[in-house]
């Protein structure tokens, strides 16, 4: 029990020491003293978070079970560091020039700053990393358990759980303190990196110490150890080419794509040159880490009773041999491996979660209130802190829910395979200009679905998430979709199978979707900047403008931002430089400012290209020109949109004006109509009232007078009635609510009726009507009553207005333009040209008021003929007044 207490004490001291180291590093960085903080060795050591507890403890277990295969986990990253350093250099350069904060940020930036993509990568990274964090928590609690059980103190499950919670809380606290102390635009965390570097040394020392102890303390030297290895099963390892190849590829890919690796390798990178050191130092570190794995495994297998868990030989071998201090160091090594991984992973994931999920949501809920930068800073920090806590807690939750144990054992490789899905999109993005957002999206989705289906779900064991029958027969009995034997290719190792298909289909769909689609201008621009990062960033942003002609720049600036603005800008600059004239020296500083100013008007790429051309220092590349073209296209699109919009507004205004004019006209017409109606009603009413008052008030009236005045009243009353009838008739006709009563009848009959009805009363027989019965021998199918009404009106008008002493009306029936026409021509003086246009308007009586009429007759005729789909017009040049009624062909045809 005493040793256990010492272990707890040592742990606490160690943790306190780590806090101190981190704090000191932060302090030194803040005071600008920490040159040693920025050494390539620290950088290399920080990369060692690749070696987690899974590597520290698990490698020995791996070797005990599968021989030398564990080496693949080290070979992959080593190959990347040595053989692909130029890819890493490119990543680091892009990271710095684009201010990349995470792998999600890198992928989303490359593909046109698509936040959807960033959210996808973030979610997938969290899914891939959570089990891994759980694994670290498990390793700490289990190793503590191993330690304590060696001293006869079995820990209960709940005690294990609370240990894990304690560790998780401590790690979250550490990450929050040193990961979110301030908001650095470069996202560098000296305290975290330093602590991680220290832990890297501790775990290397611990593993090496145990290794030395095993080789020289237990096995009796190198020769004896080698003999033991030969004798053991590990010595008879068989190398399976497919598995080795896959595992090397997988660990290399994970090394590039793991969020935490990206954090230390790219984000925390201080200097590109550090890669040069790391490219040999990190493989060396890995080599030392892997050196004693096999000896420990072999000796452990020999020494410890059968059935002991080889995953903890690093701990149990010193414990079994009573070497408590070494065991404690070993424990600290494992503890360091686990904690450094959790800290950096939480830091990396929280940046992604906060930047791509929490902040966009928060910003979208803030309407304009986020303009105060202090506010946002505060919110960003808070969101980071919450994200860190959430990520660590998620890991803890996974650990508790999965119950630790076997489910976690294989999670390391599953997790690697998950993040490896980023590889095609990542590598394609920085080497292939043609890669598109759609391609990235499709590729990632395909890769992750296959990964989840073939590896993640089955990893929980048959019968848990994936049923045994589905594993054997495929979903819904579709054999070719069996999770571990796609397309019927069985016999492959499940891991190899999953990696092969997921990466293959991921890459293929990424390429195909990229080739099929067309990148947006922003994607093309970002693509060019990523792929050609060295050309873009190797010449520094500032200009060496000694050759530039300031006057040329002036001319260009005037053309772009306007004469006065440009002059002001140049004058201000000249004053700043202390020049006496109006033109400044073309200093790099000034050129940069000018570029920024121009960029506001013409876009950054255009401004850069224009200044480049004048200064002459930088040649304008094809990419620059393309970017210019993109900007121009965007501007043109924007301006054409504006144009369309203003055209639309003009059109709407025109329509409104027209509608308004129409309404005004209608309103005027209505006023004038009411005024006319009023006049027409009041006139007969005046007579009626006047004469009825005379009849009532005058007592000396003769009988003749009485009769005369009574009949005037009677006639005027009839006139009023007629007027009202006409008004109602017209109103019905105009509203279109008129029901036509279609009948068949002969034209002759209708005309007979009309003549008889119209020519009544005094002087009716004076008018001579000339007709041709043969012409009139036609059958019609129309509203006969309405047509008759038109004829009556026309004949009545002739009777009223014909001023000939021997009035004569000729009614002609004929055809004109395939239509039936009936002409009414009298022998009077006709209607003057000036009035011909208005006679069909309401209340338009012409000439002397010889006859009483409201002036609605012709208006009614016109409305009726419109309803009958014909027309009535004045026929000029016929001597007297002449009207033509036109009936459509089918009216006459129907009768034949």
């Amino acid at each position: 029990m005493g040793t256990l207490n010492i272990l707890v004490g040592v742990c606490l001291i160690y943790v306190a020491f780590l806090f101190l180291v981190a704090f000191a590093a932060e302090r030194a960085a803040l005071e600008g003293k920490g040159a040693w903080l920025r050494s390539p060795i620290i950088y290399t050591l920080s990369l060692s978070i690749y070696c987690t507890a899974w590597t520290f403890y698990g490698a020995v277990g791996y070797a005990a079970r599968s021989g030398l295969e564990y080496l693949t986990i080290y070979i992959g990253p080593s190959l990347v560091m040595i053989g692909w350093w130029w890819l890493l250099r490119k990543l680091v350069r892009i990271g710095r020039s684009q201010r990349i904060t995470s792998i999600a940020d890198l992928i989303s930036s490359r593909y046109g700053k698509s936040n959807l993509l960033a959210v996808g990568v973030t979610v997938l990274a969290v899914i891939g990393t959570t089990p891994y964090i759980a694994l670290q928590l498990q390793s700490v609690t289990v190793s503590f358990d191993v330690f304590s059980s060696a001293y006869g103190a079995e820990l209960t499950d709940s005690a294990q759980g609370s240990n894990a919670l304690l560790v998780a809380a401590g790690l979250a606290l550490f990450t929050i303190i040193f990961g979110t102390r301030n908001l650095d635009v470069n996202e560098r965390h000296h305290g975290v990196v330093m602590a991680v570097a220290v832990e890297a040394i501790v775990k290397l020392l611990a593993l090496t110490a145990v290794g030395i102890f095993v080789v020289w303390g237990l096995a009796g030297g190198v020769g004896d150890t080698l003999a033991r290895i030969d004798a053991s099963e590990i010595g008879q390892w068989q190398m399976r080419g497919d598995r080795w190849g896959t595992l090397i590829f997988l660990s290399g890919a994970a090394f590039l794509c793991l969020p935490r690796m990206f954090q230390v390798m790219v984000v925390e990178n201080e200097d590109e040159d550090h890669l040069r050191t790391a490219s040999w130092a990190f493989p060396a570190y890995l080599m030392v880490m892997s050196l004693f794995v096999v000896p420990i495994a072999v000796v452990g297998l020999d020494l410890l009773p059968a059935g002991s868990n080889p995953d903890f030989f690093v701990l149990t071998v010193p414990l079994a041999t009573g070497n408590d201090a070494l065991a404690m160091l070993s424990f600290l090594g494992g503890f360091s491996s686990a904690t450094s991984m959790v800290i950096v992973a939480a830091l990396a994931l929280s940046t992604m979660v906060s930047n791509h999920i929490v902040m966009p949501i928060w910003l979208s809920t803030q309407s304009g209130g986020a303009s105060v930068s202090g506010d946002v800073r505060h919110v960003v920090l808070l969101s980071r802190r919450i994200s860190i806590a959430a990520v660590v807690f998620l890991g803890y939750l996974y650990f508790r829910l999965s119950g630790g144990g076997t489910a976690l054992a294989s999670i390391g490789l599953v997790s690697f395979a998950g993040v490896a899905q980023f590889l095609p999109v990542l590598v394609g993005g920085i080497f292939w200009r043609g890669a598109t957002r759609t391609g990235a999206f499709v590729g990632l989705s395909v890769g992750f679905v296959i990964w989840a289906y073939t590896l993640l779900l089955p990893s929980f064991g048959a019968g848990s998430l994936v049923s045994q029958t589905m594993l054997e027969n495929g979903p819904l009995g579709l054999g070719w979709l069996r999770p571990q034997a796609f397309f019927g290719i069985s016999g492959m190792d499940p891991l190899v199978h999953a990696i092969f298909w997921s990466i293959l289909l991921n890459t293929m769909s990424f390429f195909i979707a990229s080739l099929v689609g067309f990148p947006s201008p922003l994607e093309r621009l970002q693509g060019a900047q990523f792929v050609n990062v060295f050309e873009h960033s190797s010449t520094p942003q500032s200009w060496g403008g000694s050759l530039a002609q300031t006057e040329d720049l002036m001319v260009m600036a005037q053309r772009i931002i306007g004469a006065r603005e440009a002059q002001n800008l140049f004058e201000r600059e000249a004053k700043r430089q202390g020049m006496s004239g109006l033109l400044p020296e073309p200093s790099p500083d000034f050129l940069q400012r000018l570029e920024r100013e121009l960029a506001g008007s013409v876009g950054a790429a255009t401004a850069h290209a224009m200044i480049g051309q004048i200064v002459g220092g930088a040649s304008v590349s094809v990419e620059d020109l393309m970017a210019v073209a993109d900007e121009t296209a965007q501007m043109m699109e924007y301006s054409s949109k504006l144009e369309a919009k203003s055209e639309e507004q003009a059109r709407t205004a025109r329509q409104l004006r027209q509608a308004n004019e129409k309404l005004t006209l209608i309103s005027e017409q209505k006023d004038s109509f009411l005024s006319q109606v009023s006049h027409e009603l009041r006139t007969p009413m005046t007579s009626i009232r006047a004469f009825s008052e005379i009849l009532r008030d005058s007592d000396r009236l003769t009988e003749t007078e009485k009769t005369k005045y009574s009949s005037i009243i009677h006639d005027e009353a009839l006139r009023l009635t007629r007027l009202l009838d006409d008004l109602l008739d017209l109103s019905v006709l105009e509203s279109g609510r008129v029901n036509l009563n279609m009948q068949s009848g002969s034209l002759k009959g209708i005309l007979d009726h009309a003549v008889a009805s119209a020519l009544t009363g005094a002087g009716a027989d004076k008018m001579q009507v000339v007709r041709d019965n043969q012409q009139e021998d036609l059958m019609l199918n129309t509203d006969l009553d309405r047509l008759s009404q038109v004829f009556i009106n026309l004949i009545g008008n002739a009777q009223k207005y014909c001023d000939s002493t021997t009035p004569k009306l000729r009614i002609d029936v004929g055809r004109a333009n395939a239509a039936l026409v009936v002409d009414f021509i009298d022998n009077g003086s006709g209607i003057p040209k000036t009035e011909q246009a208005v006679i069909f308007e309401k209340f338009s009586r012409t000439g002397v008021q010889k006859v009483k009429g409201a002036g609605l007759g012709l208006a009614i005729c016109r409305e009726i003929m419109t309803r009958l789909e014909g027309s009535v017009e004045y026929l000029p040049g016929q001597g007297g007044a002449a009207f033509r009624v036109t009936l459509p062909e089918q009216v006459a045809m129907a009768a034949q």
Partner: protein, 122 residues
């Protein structure tokens, strides 16, 4: 008594009614029924009062009144305007043209008689 009134109106029945009422009251009534030569008729007859309709064939009552007002001889002539259009703007038009009195048809006979008496006396 025995003063002259000229009625310018195109509706025969209304002419007859007004003539009847005024002659019963002792006025001597002359009538005219179209617009275009009305001014000349007034100037020739120089009545004590003109009763003027608005809607006349040839020329409107407003135009006739304006012409009368512009002539010295008829500048102060009392003119009673009658109109069958009863809107406010018609009354305003009549006042602007210089009507001494404005009445809307249909009128009461007593009103017309009172107005004629007042205008000639005043």
């Amino acid at each position: 008594m025995g003063k002259n009134v000229l009625v310018i109106e195109d509706e025969p029945n209304i002419i007859e009614a007004i003539s009847f009422i005024l002659s019963r009251d002792g006025w001597s009534v002359a009538t005219h029924s179209n617009g275009h030569d009305a001014v000349g008729v007034v100037q020739k007859a120089m009545p004590d009062l003109v009763i003027l309709d608005v809607m006349l064939p040839g020329k409107t009552g407003y135009d006739i009144l304006r012409e009368l007002r512009s002539e010295d001889a008829t500048h102060g002539l009392p003119v009673l305007m009658l109109t069958a259009k009863g809107q406010v703007k018609d009354r305003e038009m009549a006042e602007r043209a210089g009507a001494s009195r404005f009445m809307t048809k249909p009128f009461s006979n007593a009103e017309v008689l009172d107005a004629v008496r007042e205008l000639v006396a005043g």
